[in-house]
């Protein structure tokens, strides 16, 4: 299988990429390419130009700035999985990164590419939602900071404009909160049928705050607001009762992997498991 013909440019800087995008409605950025190239091989995607941003300097790595960790958009899953700063201060990102695809995919795929692709079955969007992360984008008019809650607009649709380049993702230092990403699939390589990202502040078995986001329970990742509300102040059996609200307000898809009703069940079961794990159980 061979993609249709296209032009290929290597961007030396973010500005150069923005300029190329501005001049071509059908151009697309390519990072690792592991979401885009399969679509191009089946010719479901046929961009007229690919702009390779994987070699733009300064877009990789994780840096701490006070209470914030700045992750370069071109940082690969493989590097996120192993990054010592992330593993210490925001381990849920490393944990989710290690569950994306397979080792070969993780050697190529990047966090920025995944966020921009906006696949509702991808792992990292729900994690960023649960973390109240910020997506940093640069366009012709300068830099824009987009809250994760505003970024995932629809099915394969992000809030990024055509001529914007995603340059970084900012996540909080989680000191004092527990977190877990629990993913359910049939094969390790598969996308999540459902997954749950949980960030939980707790003390003595009682939850003070739980932020819970769900993967593949709708056209975008969604927060489990009802469950979150019921988790606040909960302990013991009340946590399980709160988890049973996790599918409220969701609109899960039906596909070859699972039906909606089953996904709702998974959201409830996995929410409890994620919260329990975040609390150190």
């Amino acid at each position: 299988m061979i993609p249709a013909e296209f032009d290929y440019r290597v961007a030396g800087s973010v500005e150069e990429a923005i300029g190329l995008l501005s001049g071509n409605e059908d151009a697309k950025l390519i990072a690792g390419g592991h979401s885009l190239i399969p679509l191009m091989k089946t010719r479901l995607a046929r961009p007229s130009m690919l702009i390779d941003v994987a070699r733009v300097p300064g877009l990789t790595g994780v840096a701490r700035d006070g209470g914030t960790l700045r992750i370069g958009a071109m940082t690969r899953w493989h590097d996120l999985e192993r990054d010592p700063v992330l593993r210490e201060h925001c381990p849920i990102v490393a944990e989710a990164a290690g569950q994306v695809g397979d080792p070969q995919v993780r050697h190529a795929g990047t966090i920025g590419g995944s966020v921009a692709h906006c696949d509702p079955a991808s792992d990292i969007p729900a994690v960023l939602l649960a973390l109240d992360a910020v997506i940093v984008a640069q366009g012709p008019g300068g830099t824009r900071r987009i809250a994760a809650s505003e970024c995932f607009e629809g099915f394969f649709q992000s809030a990024l404009a055509h001529d914007e380049v995603l340059t970084a993702v900012e996540v909080p230092v989680l000191d004092g909160a527990g977190c877990a990403y629990v993913k359910f699939n049939q094969r390790a390589i598969d996308w999540a049928i459902v997954a749950v990202a949980a960030v939980v502040r707790h003390s003595g078995g009682t939850i003070s705050e739980a932020r819970i986001a769900l993967t593949n329970m709708g056209t975008t990742p969604v927060r489990a607001r009802a469950a979150e509300a019921a988790m606040a102040g909960a302990s013991g059996d009340a946590i399980a009762a709160a988890a049973a609200l996790a599918d409220q307000g969701t609109d899960p898809p039906e596909d070859t992997f699972a039906g909606a009703e089953y996904r709702r069940n998974l959201a409830r079961v996995l929410t409890l498991r994620a919260v329990e794990r975040a609390m150190g159980a």
Partner: protein
């Protein structure tokens, strides 16, 4: 002095001869070959499951740079002397509508070829294929075989009412008498269980997609086809029928072939198209399937609705088995399509005894890819039905499933040559022995105690133990039986053993490998037989020009049929060498004993080696009067019976009742495959077979939408499992029942794991949940299906 015979190779595990080129990337698969001037072919396939073709506009595609031609059925009229071949018309009144390699008027499945693009590069051909404009008039489609035979269903062929292509009844069509008539027993027996199972379609997914290269010598009218096939000889014969290229001028080569599992036991439309194009264009023509294309164009497996009824006494003693199968054929017949369900019709009674038996099979056309042989071919289907039903019977009469099986098994002392309820004669077996060994290895009672404890505690994760005690008929097969079952061809096998003047040995054999390790296994056998070194034996196969006419590889026949042909050819070589030795040593042949590669005059130290005999046969200076020079022999072997492996498998699962996820904790097998030549290869065959069976039980199934499109048509949606989803296996052997049918006592192992394992897995899942009221989970038992079964049982 008597000579001690050494047989250092049989039973040993030398390094595989196949491996060096495979682990270094030096092996050549068909797709690796691209001679100069090769034209690349891309097929244009119907996107509709059922549609009339009103017209095809190829102008834009033809005008695309690099394109040499774009051809439709109309353009290829005259290229084909006959339609695609079905070689197994299993009843006299079967309906086999003619279907040609390129369809011109009506597409009957999504994926059927409607046009062919030929270009100088793969990319140009792919680009141009997008430019072929086909005007379709879509028609209603039907995918489920039961729905397809209902009144009012869409009709695939005008002259095939209700899409029923055949109706096979054992009472009417079996060439051997079954045990009695089950009908009266079903009406009166104390216990009757009736189970209904859906066996979804499976897509074989050999790792190497199909690939074909045809190189013509146009001026001589000669063609060399290199193809990823299991059956070079049959491909050659059938392509002669379809294209009219004389069989003597067509050479078919199977180079390194990346797995088959039945999917390359076929003569496909693409084979005929590539040969026809090479003849038309006078240049090499190559086609390689994309995986996505392979999903809709390679034949599928299974696709059955099964109803099985068991009648028994109150204590569970089996009295009668009655089976009705509705089998999906897909849109038309291919080489063996109709016969595949019937290949299982002899095994629905399993390894048990009963007084009465009948099977009926209704073959139905449906708007999807044709079905045909897939690892086990009919036998996994039969084993699934009887082994699931035996568990249902055990639950009904309140007996442990192991105990119920044991009390109904054919006793070991009934052998050799016991006639099973379907009327066939089984060579040998030790079913209770295999079961006993299995239960001991498992610590069966210990597992039952753990299961009881988990049930009592109400744990989220419940334990299941599933058994499958199985038999199969393999080593296909006696040609007379094949004829009685209306298979058009015979099933003998041929081999030539040639001892070279310098003592190395070439073996030319008709069976051809695609992963089975023939070179290794056959070398081990012949080395011991002739008393030469393993490395002195060279196995040559997979080329119709250089090996004797054979019947190729499928049905676990390579060892039990091909291996015996080689053994018997080896005996002829020894006999001839004995004559040379006696002549040279000036003694009677009867005075010679042969061991370790040398003839010795009994009671003396005078000897003459087989390599010396080969040299003497080559110089021909001093041979017995009338003896032909050269030391080689050919044997064509037609076995007197099938071979009948059997065994006992157990699967221990942990089922997460909250999510429905199934985890295999242990998988244990005890198999009798006859005498084992290479234990490592046998274990490898069991591992792979069991894994494929686990895959069909838990992961794999072709799903279609309302319009008849395959929606699990890639490896991302059709879940071929990886190492991360598979357990390790505990593989044991039962050596107590070597086959009495052949001189080596061998049976076969290629399909055993796939036949045995699906019911063991599903029985285990059901067993884990039976206390909740679950009696069935349809396969593949996906987490959702398991969860639903729990929900429905709880209501």
């Amino acid at each position: 002095m008597a000579t001690t015979e050494h047989r250092p190779n049989i039973g040993a595990t030398p390094r595989r001869k196949e491996d060096p080129e495979l682990i270094t990337g030096e092996a050549r698969y068909t797709e690796d070959l691209t001679p100069p001037r090769t034209a690349h072919v891309v097929m244009v396939r119907s996107p509709f499951a059922h549609a009339n073709i009103r017209g095809i506009d190829t102008a834009a595609a033809k005008a695309h740079p690099g394109v040499s031609d774009v051809l439709t059925a109309a353009d290829l009229e005259g290229a084909f002397a006959a339609p695609l071949v079905c070689a197994w018309p299993i009843v006299d009144d079967i309906k086999i509508p003619p279907v040609y390699p390129v369809e011109g008027t009506r597409a009957r499945y999504a994926g059927q070829i409607v046009a062919v693009v030929v270009a100088d590069s793969r990319a140009a051909a792919q680009d141009a294929a997008e430019l072929v404009e086909v005007d379709y008039d879509p028609l209603p489609a039907v995918i489920d075989p039961e729905e397809a035979m209902a009144d009012g269903a869409p009709q695939l062929f005008d002259d095939v009412p209700n899409n029923v292509t055949y109706h096979w009844r054992s009472k009417e069509h079996s060439p051997v008498p079954s045990a009695g008539d089950p009908d009266p027993i079903m009406a009166s027996a104390p216990v009757v269980v009736k189970e209904r199972f859906r066996l979804e379609r499976l897509v074989p997914n050999a790792m190497e997609p199909r690939s074909i290269l045809v190189e013509p010598n146009a001026s001589q009218g000669e063609y060399v086809m290199t193809s990823a096939t299991q059956i070079p000889h049959i491909v050659r014969t059938v392509l002669t029928l379809i294209t009219g290229v004389p069989e003597a001028k067509l050479r078919v080569i199977a180079p390194a072939v990346g797995g088959g599992f039945g999917s390359k036991l076929q003569v496909y439309a693409e084979d005929a198209i590539c040969l026809a194009l090479a003849r038309r264009l006078g240049r090499p023509v190559k086609w390689t399937a994309d995986r996505t294309e392979e999903f809709v164009s390679v034949h599928h497996g299974r696709d059955q609705w099964q109803e099985i009824e068991l009648a028994a006494d109150a204590d569970g003693k089996l009295r009668a088995v009655r089976v009705r199968i509705v089998a999906g054929m897909g849109a038309h017949h291919l080489l063996l399509t109709p016969g595949i369900p019937m290949l299982g019709a002899w095994l629905y009674g399993g390894c048990y005894t009963a007084d009465a038996y009948s099977v009926e099979i209704i073959g139905v056309f449906t708007n999807n890819t044709p079905t045909d042989a897939y690892r086990g071919a009919g036998r996994p289907e039969a084993t699934y039905a009887i082994e699931r039903a035996m568990d249902a019977l055990a639950r009904k009469v309140g007996k442990d499933p192991a105990e119920l099986r044991r009390m109904n098994m054919i006793p070991t002392d009934a052998f050799p040559n016991y006639t099973i309820m379907s009327g066939l004669s089984v060579d040998s077996g030790d079913y209770t022995g295999s079961l006993d060994k299995l239960l001991a290895t498992l610590d069966y009672q210990g597992l039952r105690r753990e299961q009881a404890a988990r049930r009592a505690s109400g744990a989220a994760r419940q334990l299941g133990i599933g058994l499958s005690t199985w038999i199969e008929m393999c080593g296909l097969a006696p040609s007379r039986v094949a004829g009685a079952l209306k298979l058009v061809c015979g099933l003998w096998e041929a081999c030539t053993v040639k001892v070279m003047p310098t003592g190395t040995i070439q073996v030319m054999i008709g069976v051809t490998a695609h992963g089975q390790g023939h070179e290794t296994t056959f070398s081990q056998m012949l080395a011991d037989q002739l008393g030469v070194d393993y490395d002195d034996v060279q196995i040559i196969a997979g080329d119709t020009l250089t090996v004797p006419f054979g019947m190729d590889t499928y049905g676990s026949r390579s060892l039990a049929v091909g291996g015996i042909a080689m053994h018997n050819a080896g005996e002829k070589v020894i006999a001839k060498a004995r004559g040379i030795a006696a002549h040279t040593l000036e003694c009677a042949e009867e005075d010679l004993e042969f061991a370790n590669g040398s003839f010795t005059v009994k009671g003396t130290d005078r000897s003459f080696g087989i390599k010396e005999a080969a040299f003497a046969a080559w110089t021909a200076h001093n041979l017995p009067d009338g003896m032909e020079p050269g030391l080689e022999a050919t044997y064509v072997y037609d076995p007197p019976n099938f071979s009948w492996p059997g065994g006992a498998h157990a699967c221990v699962t942990e089922v997460d009742t909250h999510t429905g996820a199934v985890k295999i904790l242990r998988y244990v097998s005890v198999d009798d495959c006859g005498v084992i030549i290479n234990p490592q290869i046998v274990e490898g065959q069991v591992h792979g077979g069991v894994a494929q069976g686990i895959a069909e039980a838990l992961f794999e199934g072709a799903q279609y939408d309302e319009a008849g499109n395959l929606v699990t048509g890639t490896m991302t949606t059709y879940l071929v499992p990886s190492a991360a989803e598979m357990p390790s296996f505990e593989v044991l052997n039962n050596p107590n029942a070597p086959s009495p049918t052949n001189p080596l006592g061998v049976k076969g192992i290629g399909e055993a794991g796939t036949i045995a394992s699906p019911p063991a897995v599903i029985n285990s899942v059901v067993d884990a949940l039976s206390h909740l009221g679950v009696t069935n989970v349809e396969r593949p038992a996906t987490p959702e299906r398991v969860w639903r079964a729990i929900q429905e049982a709880g209501q």
